[in-house]
Every structure is written in structure tokens, then in C-alpha cells.
């Protein structure tokens, strides 16, 4: 093992007070969410199991795609787990309670027709974005070292949103099953089509992803003025809120009722501008990551640990995949596995380089030795 440590290993997380506070919150909220799930399972077993299967089939690939956004420094699994649990358990529980109270408040100060139309658009973005955003702060307090770039915030934010979205969808699916006079599977599949297939992209992952971007910029870009960083954070939080507000608003309801094509068109109009923005932010974040990677690797390229050619391959996910496929074809699966580890070890050099002051730091030397050993192992496989 090398000498570089992060706060995000389970052992080191346990030393963070924020982690223990998170566990307390999680335990308390889990009692509510867990009991709810048990009640669903006992009342509508077919619908619940179908919901879990359908959501797993879509949420796992979605999670993997988000996880792979950050190609040079994948987020630690422990922190990704914390983000998912925060979204699906802690934020969802707090937001549910706050939503009920705020809706009750609106019902007593606004005409019923307005609350009927705008209640969800007013209440949900305020409470849900607030409590999901608190998760970003908790993650930062648990592992400041893991917030190195805007990409980290984007990934953690989207993961919090994904957790929230999955458990909220289970609630919607069970509601549909419970209140349908027919069988349990039909309403679940209908709701899955509506909430996941048609509109899954324009949801909590998107909202909290934007906020995560702003939060990470605020905590990482310390060379910029506090006013600038706070401005970007505020702007991102407002965009997250606005995306949620527009999505929940009754705008284009008339269009939505004019057939399937019009319904899909309305969804696209409401969600596409914000989705395009997230894609732009992701591209921006990825470019920054690539630039940072190039800068940190500059001193290693051309040495015996990373050749010029290897560096060009490492910079591109597509070229890495092509190279792995090529070696698998020519030298077999064992060589592919070693090459995969070699690439990871070489990319970790950049990560470690960013955390040490000296080029001759013992941890960095140890990592170079890991690369050399893997290179030797790869050469031995014929």
C-alpha cells in the first residue's frame, strides 16, 4: 500500500464527527423509511418486488454512469454510499415532513385553486433542494480531501439526487398500486414508464447535480474571490430550485393532455434546457479534470512510469477502452486485468502528486514502484 491516505476510507470516516452525526440521522430516519417499506412489502408484495426490480434495473446503470463521470479520480465507494443514503433516507424523510407542513401553510393563506395548481411547484423545490443540499455539506465535512474539483460536487450531488429519486419512486409506485382497483403490476409498470422512462432524466439527479457543481466550486476554487464563489454557488442553487419548480409547475398541462406525442413534447420542453445545462457543466468539469490531470502528470510523463504514448491513452476514456480490448484479444484476459490495474495506478500518480509537496515524497515513490511492478507483471504475460 502507498502512504497516501484519504478521509474517505471507512476507518477514517469513523474519525469524523460529521460521520457519526450522519449515522444518528440515518438511524432515526431509517426507522420511518424502513417501516414504510416493510408496510409496502406486506400490503403489496408483488408491486413492491416489481418496483425494486424495475428501479434497480435503471438506477444501477444510472449510478455507474454518474460514478464514471470522474474518470481520473473515482469517488470512494463509502462516500458514494453516504450520498445515496442521504438522498434516499435522510433528505427524503426531512423533506416529506417539511412539505406537509408547508402545504398546510399554503392551504390556509392561498385560494384552493392556486394551491391545487402550484402547491407542488412551490413546496417541493424549497424543501427538497434544501435537505439534499445539506447532504453535500455533510459529505464535505466528512471528507474534505475528496472535494478536489467541480466534478466531485457534480457526482456527489447527482448521487444524492439518485438516492432520493429511487425511494420517492417506490412511494409513487406503491401509491399507484394501492389505489388502483386492478392488479398490482399494471399500475407499477405505468408509473415506471411515466416517472422513469419518460421523465427520469429530468429529476432529482439533475437538480442536485447542478447544486453539487456550485458547492464544489465554492469549496475548491479558493484562488477566486469569496464573492465570486458565493455568487456561483447561489446561482447553481437557484438553477436547481428553478429546474425543480418548472418541472412541478402546471405549465404546459393543456399540451400534456393532448395525446402521447404532445405529452412527450411538453416533458422535453420543460426538462431539456436544464438537462442541456447539466451536460454542459459535466463537459466543463471533465475538461477541467483533463487539464488538471495533464498538469499533475507533466513531471512523470517520459519517465519509466508513464511513457508519452501511455499518457495519450490515459487522457482519453475511449482510447483506454480500445487499448484494453486490443490487449485482451492479443494476450488474453489476464493481461487485460493487469493492464487495467496499471492504468489505474498510473492515473493515481496524478492524484497523489496533487497531495504531496515534493516530487521525491516517499508516498509518490511507493506509487511509482507499484506502477513498475505492474509493468513487470504485464511484460511477463505472453
Amino acid at each position: 500500500m502507498n502512504g497516501i491516505t484519504t478521509t474517505a476510507t471507512p476507518m477514517r470516516l469513523a474519525r469524523q464527527p460529521a460521520f457519526w452525526v450522519f449515522l444518528l440521522l440515518l438511524g432515526a430516519c431509517f426507522l420511518l423509511v424502513g417501516l414504510e417499506q416493510v408496510a409496502y412489502l406486506s400490503s403489496y408484495p408483488v408491486a413492491w418486488l416489481l418496483s425494486i426490480a424495475l428501479l434497480a434495473a435503471t438506477a444501477i446503470p444510472a449510478g455507474l454512469i454518474i460514478y464514471r463521470f470522474d474518470q481520473f479520480e473515482p469517488e470512494p465507494a463509502a462516500l458514494v454510499g453516504v450520498a445515496l443514503l442521504w438522498g434516499g433516507v435522510v433528505a427524503l424523510t426531512f423533506a416529506s415532513v417539511a412539505n406537509s407542513s408547508m402545504l398546510s401553510f399554503l392551504q390556509h393563506v392561498l385560494p384552493a385553486a392556486q394551491v391545487d395548481s402550484w402547491g407542488a411547484a412551490i413546496v417541493a423545490p424549497i424543501n427538497e433542494e434544501f435537505y439534499k443540499g445539506m447532504g453535500l455539506i455533510f459529505l464535505y465535512l466528512m471528507a474534505k480531501d475528496e472535494f478536489n474539483s467541480v466534478m466531485d460536487g457534480l457526482v456527489y450531488g447527482a448521487m444524492i439526487g439518485l438516492g432520493f429519486q429511487v425511494i420517492e419512486n417506490v412511494q409513487y409506485f406503491m401509491l399507484a398500486a394501492g389505489e388502483s382497483g386492478g392488479g398490482q403490476a399494471g399500475p407499477v409498470v405505468s408509473m415506471f414508464f411515466l416517472r422513469v422512462v419518460l421523465s427520469g432524466l429530468y429529476s432529482h439527479m439533475l437538480f442536485t447535480g447542478v447544486m453539487g457543481f456550485g458547492f464544489a466550486l465554492f469549496v475548491t476554487q479558493r484562488q477566486r474571490s469569496p464573492a465570486h464563489r458565493l455568487g456561483v454557488l447561489t446561482l447553481c442553487a437557484l438553477i436547481a430550485w428553478a429546474a425543480h419548480f418548472v418541472w412541478n409547475s402546471p405549465w404546459l398541462e393543456t399540451l400534456m393532455s393532448e395525446g402521447t406525442t404532445a405529452f412527450v413534447l411538453a416533458i422535453v420542453i420543460k426538462g431539456m434546457p436544464f438537462l442541456a445545462l447539466v451536460v454542459l457543466l459535466a463537459v466543463f468539469a471533465r475538461r477541467r479534470e483533463t487539464l488538471a490531470f495533464t498538469r499533475l502528470m507533466a513531471t512523470e510523463v517520459g519517465s519509466d512510469v508513464v511513457t508519452e504514448e501511455e499518457f495519450e491513452i490515459l487522457r482519453s476514456a475511449r482510447r483506454r477502452r480500445q487499448t484494453l480490448r486490443r490487449i485482451k484479444r492479443s494476450r488474453g484476459a489476464a493481461a487485460e486485468a493487469v493492464l487495467r490495474r496499471l492504468m489505474r495506478a498510473q492515473m493515481d500518480l496524478a492524484l497523489f502528486r496533487g497531495r504531496v509537496d515534493s516530487m521525491s515524497d516517499s508516498a509518490l515513490e511507493a506509487q511509482r514502484d507499484v506502477v513498475r511492478q505492474l509493468r513487470g507483471r504485464l511484460a511477463a504475460i505472453r
Binding site: 460529521a18 452525526v21 390556509h108 384552493a112 434544501f130 389505489e179
Partner: protein, 179 residues
């Protein structure tokens, strides 16, 4: 207190603080009710009082004379009254016969006994089918009394009608019929 505990506890305080704030706002606003549910005459002396949160749907569902329509949370309800000399069973059968052409695969669950306006016997039935005009779930209540036939038709998306059932029951129970 160590500084490292201060930050997470501050965040938790903000989380509970926000929760407390919305509780307080809801409690302070509770006595206020902008939705004054004024009784509305359907016609022929029949009066309905909209349940809390229900408001006119006349702009969406035009139900003609001696009838009113209301809406809440995606559910629409119409109350109608007409001169009628038959029984509850006959009125229900006539109404269902009128409704059937609006649906494909029209299905009606067996009717059950109910009461309206406190003690007047009526019939309730749920019906469904594929329709452009009607929601996935529909309910009809009929009651005949003193030469009048009173009809309530409710429609809503899947799952929503049962959510609003308590409101519908309240409005039926509070209905005023000429005695």
C-alpha cells in the same frame, strides 16, 4: 465543544430549524382559511356545500342548468338535480345507460346502498372503461326523494378518486334537499 463537532451540529440545527419554522408557519396560519365554502344551490332547492379545498370547475366541465361542477386535486365532481318519479334503481340504470356510449369496455361494479343528505337512501356505483372524456376511475351516486332525482358524478385519474373520497362523502352527507 471541539470545533470538528461544531460544523455538523450547526448543519443539523439548520435542518431542524427549517422544520421548526415551517411547523410554526403552518400553526400560525391554521386559523386563517381563505377558502370560504359557501353553499351553492344546484337547482330545485337542492344545495351543496363544497368541501374544504374544492372550487368551481365550470370552466372545465360545463354541466348545464340545475347542475354544478367542482374540482380539487385532479378530481372533478358534478351534482345534478332533475324532476324524477322513479326509484333509485331506475335512475341509476338510466344514468349508466346514458354514460355507456362515452366508454369502450364499459364496466360497472355492483351498486351498493348509501345515504345522502343525512338519511335519504341512495345507491352508489363505480364504473370505468376507456374514454377520452372521463378519468380512469368514476363514481355515480343517485338518490330519489320528493319527486326529485339527485345525481353525483365524480371522475379522476387512477388512484386519485379514492384519495378524495372522504370529501365526496362529506359533500353528499351535507347535501340539503327540500323536505
Amino acid at each position: 465543544m471541539r470545533a470538528s463537532w461544531r460544523a455538523p451540529l450547526t448543519v443539523v440545527t439548520a435542518m431542524f430549524g427549517w422544520l421548526f419554522l415551517v411547523f410554526v408557519l403552518a400553526a400560525l396560519a391554521a386559523p386563517n382559511d381563505p377558502n370560504v365554502e359557501v353553499p351553492i344551490e344546484v337547482g330545485k332547492g337542492v344545495i351543496v356545500t363544497p368541501a374544504d379545498g374544492w372550487y368551481s370547475a365550470s370552466g372545465v366541465w360545463d354541466v348545464g342548468p340545475d347542475a354544478i361542477s367542482l374540482q380539487s386535486s385532479g378530481v372533478y365532481v358534478a351534482f345534478m338535480v332533475e324532476d324524477y318519479g322513479g326509484t333509485n334503481d331506475e335512475l341509476l340504470a338510466e344514468m349508466l345507460e346514458t354514460l355507456e356510449p362515452d366508454f369502450e369496455s364499459f364496466r360497472v361494479l355492483p351498486a351498493a346502498a348509501t345515504t345522502v343528505a343525512g338519511d335519504i337512501p341512495g345507491l352508489v356505483a363505480l364504473f370505468s372503461g376507456a374514454s377520452k372524456e372521463w378519468g380512469a376511475e368514476n363514481e355515480i351516486v343517485v338518490a330519489t326523494h320528493g319527486g326529485l332525482g339527485v345525481i353525483m358524478l365524480a371522475t379522476g385519474p387512477a388512484g386519485q378518486l379514492s384519495r378524495m373520497q372522504a370529501d365526496l362523502d362529506t359533500m353528499l352527507d351535507d347535501l340539503v334537499l327540500p323536505r
